[in-house]
């Protein structure tokens, strides 16, 4: 029963809020190294911004079709995370030892810092996609019920 909201105010406010919240999510994600925030919070905010798009603009609008496609990307975030860990393994260290990411010219601390950024992106991607997927799972049978009645 997820469909476009018909109030003009909601729609225009949504159009303003959606990009803003996506921007905020990215800020939270990348600011996580310097202040409160990080992968978890950023991921959830990103997921909910897509959700807002679906609720306000309806499932047929372009950003929502994007959301539906994202939903099939279950596991991309984990792949990034495990991939970074795997690169560390190949680099000769133990699993997730970012100082073994082979980047010439960087010292250990910078590599670790980079590793933290990359894995944060992985966490955020995974949480955003899964939050969407769980909400669609719970909402989908909603729509199915409506079609029965």
């Amino acid at each position: 029963m997820i469909e476009a909201h018909d109030s003009l105010i909601v729609r225009s406010a949504g159009k303003l809020l959606i990009p803003l919240s996506q921007l905020f999510a990215l800020y939270v994600l990348f600011f996580g190294q310097y202040g409160p925030g990080g992968g978890f919070a950023g991921g959830v905010i990103l997921g909910t911004s897509f959700l807002l798009a679906v609720l306000v603009l309806g499932p047929q609008a372009p950003p929502c079709r994007l959301a539906h496609q994202l939903e099939h990307g279950d596991g991309i975030g984990l792949m990034i995370f495990v991939g970074v860990g795997g690169l560390c393994l190949i680099g000769g260290g133990t699993f997730l030892d970012y100082s073994n990411l082979q980047i010439p010219g960087w010292n250990d601390e910078e590599r670790r810092s980079l590793g933290i950024v990359l894995t944060q992106i992985g966490v955020a991607a995974d949480i955003a996609v899964t939050a969407l997927s769980i909400v669609f799972s719970l909402g989908q049978h909603h729509s199915q019920e409506a079609s029965h009645e």
Partner: protein, 179 residues
């Protein structure tokens, strides 16, 4: 040294929790639960755990409420009304016992007057090493992020795996008959 702000917050927190228990419709219970989560986030911010407060505000008060409401909106109105059921005797006997065990166990965690720290080992042994060394090793000023994504990165990986598992499990439970 009492912190009246913290005491007030804690009283509010307990009041909302009791409200969640007493209220008669599920939708109100869920909405009060969102308030509870938000107050919990404030308490955590007050205790110095800003990262945790942020995530609780987003995940606890935000996402959890959305999930609860999505489930409830689907149910017919009469199913979301609660009936009073008699309290089983086991619960009445078990609760004081459990409360006693908890009070017994938290006794050593109170500040001991001397240096005003609750039980020293928790805040010295490994934690000090994190505070002193993490910036040198990772160039990350937020120590929580440094520990979360580097020192204990494997826990974080598995916990991302928990989220992934949950997504898959929901898909398995709810999407079988459609598509």
């Amino acid at each position: 040294m009492m912190d009246w702000f913290e005491i007030a917050l804690v009283i509010l927190l307990i009041t909302t929790a009791v409200g969640v228990i007493r209220v008669k419709t599920l939708i109100s219970a869920v909405l009060i639960l969102a308030c509870y989560s938000f107050l919990m986030a404030v308490v955590w911010a007050q205790l110095g755990a800003v990262d945790v407060a942020f995530v609780e505000a987003v995940v606890g008060a935000g996402l959890s409420t959305v999930l609860f409401l999505l489930t409830l909106f689907r149910a017919r109105a009469k199913d979301t009304q609660l009936r009073r059921t008699p309290t089983p005797l086991v619960a009445l006997l078990g609760l004081p016992l459990l409360g006693f065990v908890l009070l017994y166990a938290i006794a050593p965690l109170y500040p001991d007057g001397q240096d005003g720290q609750p039980l020293r080992p928790a805040s010295t042994h490994v934690a000090d090493a994190y505070l002193q060394e993490s910036y040198k090793a990772t160039k990350t000023p937020n120590v929580v992020t440094a520990v979360l994504m580097d020192y204990r990165a494997f826990d974080t990986l598995i916990e991302t795996g928990v989220i992934f598992t949950a997504g898959i499990a929901c898909a398995l439970l709810l999407r079988s008959h459609s598509e």
